[in-house]
């Protein structure tokens, strides 16, 4: 039951008042299921009486998603097409957030006049999102207003200055608006204005690619004609550190995403691999060769110097570090116990704690840890009968959960909302990068491609501020 309680912490607050308002009208099954999940109120006999049509298991947690409707965005003559594409982007983002249920809007809804709450209430919507686009076309403004249909009031409203349609930050600016709507409606941050970096097969080996969280805007960002691996976003989302063989000797490079310049960041003797930025962006943790094995180091990014070793285990490898949100601890991968496991270590101390369960079995292989930005879980992949599957576990080693079971599922990375995970999968023979919502269990494919791997999800990308900087320094194509 611990898993369900965890889930409840995410959504209970936002759900409660809606429940209070509407519980009388709800069909009994859903209300019953939701009421049952109230934290701390689970009596044993209630647990036993969960309706049989509600499946409670490792992969599935019932989650209430309030309905949201968004009629056509009203726009002046000539901007309707832009308004339609903005609406399409926002609706997809709302759907992909897995926090609200996007409901279809029937025809014949008057765009003008006062909000007809009765009409939307009749449809069963909890939220009404209205958008108004104003010109000029090269610098349009989108005003989004969110109405609470249940309480019949305006929840929030904000105007977003958008770049022109073909500007490279256009979609990201609209995603930022969608994230704001999620914030208003659920008091939690969304993850639409983000990108995912990953590795794709290319001539000479592999290159780094990036793609927006909705699957659009895919492009290659390195051209090393060599082996490029393990991309990781800087906290600002402006840079990507990655490992490359482009100078023959594997080193860590840092790439400026726009305009796309890479320079060598760390090159110690031997192999330098698996970089990770600290959440405040001041340090980089990475693995490097010491006497033939791999140990973890940190590097001062502000001084661009001073590699400092943090692990000291002879005859074993330590690699793939990932910082806790407070930057004080790292989780990492090590074979020091003769099996591959995930460990957690306080930086500056020399004692690591085993996070994953030790089992007397040769086939134990836990790898690729990623500490959730919300701090409460660490995702990794571990072998189940020789096939990697995605797991999460609390940083104290409790509450181990297996999230996947179809095909190979590897190298998970958390979205900034702490509930979506991107990973490489071969499920149903449909290889590529997939996104799983840990709360609802909903899953969607982000990138198609047998060789797409090692994804890393960025923080929220503040495109609006950068767009403004751009306009201040003159227009760019």
């Amino acid at each position: 039951m611990r898993a369900i309680e965890t889930h409840n912490r995410f959504t209970w607050q936002s759900r409660k008042r809606v429940l209070v308002a509407r519980i009388g009208r709800w069909t009994s099954a859903l209300a019953y299921a939701v009421a049952l999940l109230a934290p701390g109120e689970l009596a044993a006999q209630e647990r036993d009486s969960i309706p049989t049509d509600v499946r409670v298991g490792i992969l599935y947690q019932p989650a209430f998603r309030p309905g949201i409707v968004m009629p056509n965005v009203s726009a002046p003559e000539g901007l309707q097409e832009l308004a339609d594409s903005i609406r399409a982007i926002i609706l997809r983002d709302l759907d992909y957030s897995d926090r609200v249920q996007v409901m279809p809007v029937g025809g014949g809804i008057p765009a003008e006049g006062p909000v007809n709450y009765d009409l939307w209430d009749e449809l069963g919507a909890v939220w009404l999102l209205l958008g108004v686009l104003e010109g000029p076309a090269d610098a349009p403004t989108l005003r989004l207003s969110l109405h609470d249909v249940v309480f019949r009031l305006l929840q929030d409203v904000e105007a977003f200055e958008l770049p022109p349609l073909r500007h490279r930050d256009f979609r990201m600016a609209v995603h930022t608006g969608a994230d704001r709507v999620i914030r208003w409606s659920t008091s939690s941050d969304g993850m639409a204005a983000t990108r995912i970096a990953y590795v794709e097969k290319a001539p000479g080996g592999s290159e780094i690619y990036i793609v927006d969280s909705d699957g659009f805007g895919m492009r290659r960002v390195t051209s090393d004609s060599s082996i490029a691996l393990s991309p990781t976003w800087s906290p600002s989302g402006e840079r990507i550190a990655y490992m490359s063989y482009r100078d023959d000797d594997p080193a860590i490079f840092e790439l400026e995403v726009n305009p796309g310049r890479a320079r060598k960041l760390v090159d110690l003797p031997g192999l330098d691999l698996t970089p990770a930025y600290s959440p405040d962006g001041t340090r980089l943790a990475f693995g490097s060769t010491v006497e033939g094995r791999t140990e973890i180091f940190t590097f001062d990014l502000s001084k661009r110097c001073c590699p400092e070793r943090t692990t000291y285990v002879r005859f074993a490898n330590s690699l793939s570090p990932t910082f806790s949100p407070d930057g004080r601890r790292v989780a990492f991968n090590s074979d020091r116990l003769g099996q591959l496991h995930i460990f957690v270590q306080e930086l500056g101390s020399n004692s690591a704690e085993l996070l994953t369960p030790y089992i007397y079995d040769r086939s134990v292989h836990n790898a690729g840890p990623d500490w959730s930005p919300t701090g409460d879980r660490i995702a990794f992949h571990g072998w189940v009968a020789g096939v990697p599957q995605v797991f999460t576990v609390a940083p104290d080693g409790r509450g181990l959960r297996q999230l996947t079971q179809d095909g190979r599922n590897e190298d998970p990375s958390w979205a900034p909302d702490g509930r979506h995970i991107v990973f490489a999968s071969t499920r149903d023979g449909q290889n590529g990068l997939w996104i799983l919502d840990v709360v609802t269990g909903r899953i969607r494919r982000l990138v198609r491609g047998a060789a797409s791997r090692l994804p890393d999800w960025s923080s929220r990308i503040d495109s609006a501020s950068r767009f403004k900087e751009d306009s201040a320094t003159g227009p760019k194509p």
Partner: protein, 194 residues
Amino acid sequence: MANRSRSNLAWLGTIALAVVLAGCGGSPPPVVEPEPEPEPQAQPRDDSAEREAEARRLREEEERRRREAERNRVMSVLAERVHFDFDRSDIRPDAEPVLQRKVTVLREYPGITLRVEGHCDERGSNEYNLALGQRRAEAVRRYLVSYGVDAARFATISYGEERPLVEASNENAWGQNRRAEFNVTNQGRLGGGL
């Protein structure tokens, strides 16, 4: 008169040749000192120079072939891969004779330097395999150094699972892909110069 003396000379030449051949016991040495024959007396110096050049050419050819053969032998000994067990970096018993042959060659040619490349099969995590490949390369280096080969003659690199030998997902392919490869970075005196 002229005719008769020429035929006499021809006779003499034939006998001389027969004597030479008989002296060789049926296996002519590659270098045959030309008998001073009467007939080519007209331009004796030119012909011998030509033959000498030919002989030198043959000698050089022979030497070149010998060196080529030696070079091929050394290279094939050095290029021979060694394989590893799953998730292991220790030297297998069947890899030892392969590495011993390399030790012999490396002692014979002290100028040769090698880059040892560690590789893995596709099963482990991409990132862990980089570390594992490095340990494999290092294990091979340590073995060779333990037999007295200077450590400075080796560089190591890991390619993890990024450069498979066999692109397939079965035991046989995995077994072949878990390997160390050897790249000659300096051929020493095999490379033409001494």
